[in-house]
Amino acid sequence: MEPLLSLRDLSIAYDVDGGTVTAVDGATFDVPRGVIVGLVGESGCGKTTLARSLTRVLADNARITGGQAFFDGQDIMALPERQMNALRWRKIAFIPQSAMNSLDPVYTIESQLAEVLCKRGGLTRARAHVRSEELFEMVGLERGRLRDYPHQFSGGMRQRVAIALALALNPKLIVADEPVTALDVIVQRQILDQLRDLQKELSVSVIIVTHDISVVAYVCDQVVVMYAGRVAETGAMRTTLTRPAHPYTMGLRNAFPDLKSAAGVLTPIEGAPPNLMHPPPGCRFAPRCPFAQARCTDSSPPLVQVDGDHLAACHRWQEADVLRPLAALTQTWAIDIGATEMGGAKS
């Protein structure tokens, strides 16, 4: 079946003082129908910019500089604003990162739901009320709390409200930017369970933007790993996490404290991502990569097929089976990063 969303070479740049920052650089991946895709990477890797571009709500200084994003066969990057606006909420809903603070404090939740349902969805007030109750029930909130204001809800409940808003008009794609980052572990887990249940029940596609691979491991079917604006690796979640082909993905796995395994030593990936105003030549991960060779700084590795839908952008992808056990060793990552350490200041 044709994927719901296909990104082809999508690039997005910000005009800033003194130049251009290419935040997303040639992103190519598919979002199949009825699955959860995790878009994972560290701050500044372009994951949020990419997610926002899917609703085409970008900062004033951002430009889509190339590529396409086919949603249901239609390139949404080329759509006139009027038609794009018709897709927002109805077909593509966005849950912003600060969902906890993005609700208007002076309106009740019901009136904020009504705004979406009536203005965007064309429902009557009465129908909107029925639908609001239905939505509250779906996300596990009591109907009686529809008339409450955002401050009367806890962080986890506000996140449920944000999910209810996103589901309001039965979209085909929900893009959630860090939906559980600010929450406690217990609430995190409950929200992810709810999201997963609703996604299955309604068979929508969901893109979860996160920096946390444990979120990916818990709910995602597919994963896209981004590094410094580019897709480093993508594939089925299980394959990508258990048999990664890109050293960055291997390194992320080591850096994560794991309660289920013995208390070993965590291995950081030394250094910081490059400054995207002046990205390094070749592979952008090369300055932090323990396996980098001369060719890695000479040319950018293309995204190649490792196996089936598992793709990786690494010159040494064919050696992944040999590199993986090496990447699990702490001493492998103890490289002198010297100059690269200074690059990654985030604005």
Binding site: Q190, S214, D258, A272, A345
Partner: protein
């Protein structure tokens, strides 16, 4: 733990009136019991994790330990002295010996100050002679594994990455050679790939300086990495206290069980069973009677509603739960 503890809390309570001036005039103030009768000791050189959800009182406890808040009742003792009564030179000495490592490195440093100025400030406050200051700064940066100080000293916070900033925040806390630090979620604002580096520095520094440390977090996996002992809090009270490895392996209190199950793991084969805990957030303004966890507890029984569970010793742990109490 035969030596005298470095830090000691006895029946400490921190209650805040809420509702504001108008409610007060109407006589309608309620009291939030941020910390509600906690008792524990921290031995010299020990590292203790304070674990719990937002609103459980872990940050308030950290503030009480550093005399950033005064307890409503109870005593906080540091090195044998009641810190609530410290004044003058004794208080200044305490302020150098006990330090806080802030949660958000992006906000903990003055954006207008160079790194050198940020690190000099505590030295000035402690009247360290000018001639010594540069060496102290260099030594502190080396301690947190930022070995080439010239790269950093004249820069401003916005020119550094999160991992570098958090190390500088740590260097500032350590520059006066404290014996006790409280770290409040020091890596929660950092990317996963750099978290490990900061946690490793924290572990190393502790070992090298023989620091006594309190590490505040909601994530048991992080606490386990840096603390040999963990105190679990719920709604201002301690529910379980014991060696971290034992708690990870076999949590005794039903709340700890839920916390252990909820810890995110990067394992595709993890269990997706529902958490053994009721939904809903604890409401500190209106906690249930008896055991405050009972409304979310899957194992609650009649006694839990009428009687608040006291401490029970189970092996080398202390549990506050009627399931483990002698009847």
């Amino acid at each position: 733990m035969t030596a005298a503890p470095l830090v000691s809390l006895r029946n400490v309570r921190l209650h805040y009136p809420v509702g504001g001036a108008i409610a007060a005039l109407r006589g309608k103030t309620t009291v939030v019991k941020a910390v509600d009768g906690i008792t524990f000791d921290v031995a010299q050189g020990e590292s203790v994790g304070l674990l719990g959800e937002s609103g459980c009182g872990k940050t308030s406890t950290g503030r009480l330990l550093l005399k950033l808040d005064a307890p409503t009742t109870g005593t906080v003792t540091f090195d044998g002295a009641d810190i609530t009564t410290l004044r003058g030179a004794d208080l200044r000495r305490f302020r150098t010996r006990a330090q806080l490592i802030f949660q958000n490195p992006f906000e903990a440093l003055n954006p207008r100050f160079t790194i050198r100025a940020s690190l000099s400030e505590p030295l000035e406050n402690a009247a360290i002679p000018l001639a010594e200051r540069h060496d102290r700064i260099v030594a502190a940066l080396e301690l947190v594994r930022l070995p080439e100080p010239d790269q950093f000293l004249d820069r401003h916070p916005h020119q550094l990455s999160g991992g570098q900033l958090q190390r500088i925040v740590m260097a500032r806390a350590l520059i006066l050679d404290p014996v006790f630090v409280v770290a409040d979620e020091p890596v929660s604002m950092l990317d996963v790939s750099v978290r490990a580096g900061v946690l490793n520095v924290f572990r190393e520094v502790r070992a090298r300086m023989g620091l006594t440390a309190i590490y505040i977090s909601h994530d048991l996996a992080l606490v386990r990495y840096v603390c040999e002992r963990t105190i679990v809090m719920y709604l201002g009270r301690i529910v379980e206290d014991g060696p971290t490895e034992d708690i990870v392996r076999e949590p005794l209190h039903p709340y700890t069980k839920a916390l252990v199950t909820a810890v995110p793991v990067p394992d595709p084969d993890q269990s997706h069973d529902p958490l053994p805990i009721g939904r809903g957030a604890p409401d500190p303004r209106n906690p249930p009677s008896g055991c405050t966890f009972r409304d979310r507890c899957p194992q609650a029984f009649a006694r839990c509603a009428v009687e608040s569970p006291g401490p029970t010793r189970v092996g080398n742990r202390i549990v506050h739960c009627h399931l483990h109490a002698p009847s």
